[in-house]
Amino acid sequence: MAREIQSGEYELGTHRTLLQEFWRNFRRNKLSLVGGVIVLFYAFLAVFAPLLAPYDPIEQFDAPRGMRNPMPPLSRDEDGRLFLLGTDKFGRDILSRAIYGTRTLLQVAVGSISIAMLIGVTMGAVAGYRAGTWVDELLMRAVDIMLSFPSLVLAIALVGAFGIGKIQVGPFTVSNIVKIMLVIAVTYSPRFARVMRAVVLQEMAKDYVAAARISGASGARILLTEILPNTIPPIIVQASLMMATTVLTTSSLSFLGLGLQPPRPSLGLMLNEARDYLFWGAWWYAVVPGGLITLAILGFNLLGDGLRDALDPRQARRRR
């Protein structure tokens, strides 16, 4: 569509690297900057959790005489300890639990997305490079079937198969947190496979691949050193958007009591515990973990949208 050329946009003699170009596009959308700041805030919380949390997240404090747990925000116990966001039903500091819960949530999300990416990208790359062969057909039908399960239902069923809590596989003990990562990774890897296959197909049609082939490079070499670097941007966009979904799924599992197990601080589980105290008016108990989950999902969604638009400005102009 026709649009006004902005001053300086097509100036002769200016040269920008791809990264500069990307940053210019990204910065233009204020919402994606907001998303970026939110994600940085969560990264900060997760990394520095031990320094930021005022108390041990599983230490229980007694309410002063005349009060009982859960205590509202800004309460103090008999020794004068301040609970900025109140306490939970066992007298544990909600602020500390929320900070550690955020850390665990991000650990699970980053871990499962990394595994999902590894599986999905490999499947998609092979299918795309061998497009039209039986390998491609087999992989993509497998992806179709995986995607025919509603994702949360699949995750729940997988937890059901392996059992709640840590599991024993032959001689190995798999900790609960690793098990959850694996369950979520299996659930979401097909989506990466689809994106990756499409991108590889797109790249294969380009001249540089033909050039590499003519100069005698092997298939594996073309795939790994020529095509793969060009697939990174769309995969990063997908990963950022999938982070939002994974945060939601992880906390949903915990909320249902099928994910992280007590006493490990987990935002979903805190929200579940808070349900019993709603009719007492203990709003802080639910609002703190719920708000943290919501803000995280919002942040990753905004960042993902912003990255997508910045990496593909032509599409974005149509969208806006």
């Binding site: 025919s148 729940i156 939002a244 949903s252 909320f255 979903g268």
Partner: protein, 320 residues
């Protein structure tokens, strides 16, 4: 067209078959399983274990177990609940509970469409105006707020603040008490409906903007057609991606139902699945998952049919 649909139908059946095999085998990976859940603490002895395994058919070789279950599946028999409703037919309980989930799904879909269509169309027509920004902000928060947090927030605000029976949860059949039925389903349907409304209205806005920018709209405007007609024309052309999103929401309805049914204590399929996982009741988990995949396959088929209905230019297969 007919050949294409037949092909899709057969592929759907195949998907269901493979999915049922996957879920059946995954649930049998772990030793112990339902036998562990049935034996009470302190009563564990190998003989009792062997007896139970025999009774449940778990001592048969794997392929016989699967053949047995699959044969039942074709007759609509999903086996017998082992733990939750001991001895009760899973198929019967699922059918009963499916009714509740279906009512919830239909009500929430109605709410979703009632919100999404006016909002999406208004957003596209008054792009970048105040109303558009408000709708987009609300939709973005809707996408980011987890169902369980919204549900809890509604219980606090409406159930505690306004009308206690609205947030009480539970289920009353329509025939017994229509008003009570409505009150109890309203909040969960709002939770599910707004979630879907957010994604539907976002897609509607994007594809409506796309349609409004095309030549036929310009032509229609130039011909001096009433604005109403132009909008209807554009809307019709914008429907395909919107129907896809609606189909995705409807196909994954059990994902949302799991959470809302647990929060609002509705006896539907979603809460059945979660209970089945807690109790390690394998036939229940298998049954609900197969039904979930079946719903998704059926909805996808329906969406395919709708495409041809909305846009007669779409002809499948060899264009006859």
């Amino acid at each position: 067209m007919r050949a294409y649909l037949l092909k899709r139908f057969l592929f759907g059946l195949l998907t269901l078959l493979v999915a049922s095999f996957l879920i059946f085998s995954i649930l049998r990976v772990v030793p112990g399983g339902p036998v562990d859940a049935l034996i009470e603490e302190g009563w564990d002895d190998p003989e009792l274990r062997a007896q139970l395994r025999h009774k449940l058919g778990l001592d048969l070789p794997f392929h016989l177990q699967y053949a047995h279950w699959l044969g039942g599946l074709f007759r609509g028999d999903l086996g017998v609940s082992l733990v939750l409703y001991q001895g009760e037919s899973v198929g019967r309980v699922i059918l009963e509970r499916f009714g509740v989930t279906a009512q919830l799904a239909l009500l929430s879909l109605a709410i979703a469409l009632l919100i999404a269509f006016p909002a999406g169309i208004a957003s596209a027509l008054w792009k970048d105006r105040f109303l558009d920004h408000v709708f987009r902000l609300v939709a973005l928060s809707g996408v980011s707020t987890p169902n369980f947090f919204l549900g809890i927030a509604l219980i606090v605000m409406i159930g505690v603040g306004l009308r206690r029976e609205w947030g009480a949860g539970g289920y009353v059949p329509f025939g017994e008490d229509p008003w009570g039925w409505f009150l109890r389903l309203l909040l969960p349907a709002i939770v599910l409906g707004t979630d879907h409304a957010a994604s539907i209205s976002r897609m509607l806005r994007t594809s409506m903007l796309d349609a409004l920018g095309r030549e036929f709209v310009l032509t229609a405007k130039a011909m001096g057609l009433p604005r109403r007609w132009v909008v209807i024309d554009a809307l019709r052309n914008a429907m395909i991606p919107v129907v896809t999103v609606i189909g995705n929401s409807a196909g994954a309805l059990l994902d949302g139902a799991v959470i809302t049914e647990v929060i609002f204590r509705l006896p539907g399929l979603g809460s059945f699945l979660v209970q089945g996982v807690y109790a390690r009741d394998l036939p229940v988990v298998q049954g609900v998952v197969v039904v979930a995949v079946g719903i998704r396959v059926a909805v996808n088929l329906l969406v395919d049919l709708l495409y041809g209905f909305i846009d007669p230019r779409i002809r499948y297969g060899s264009g006859r």
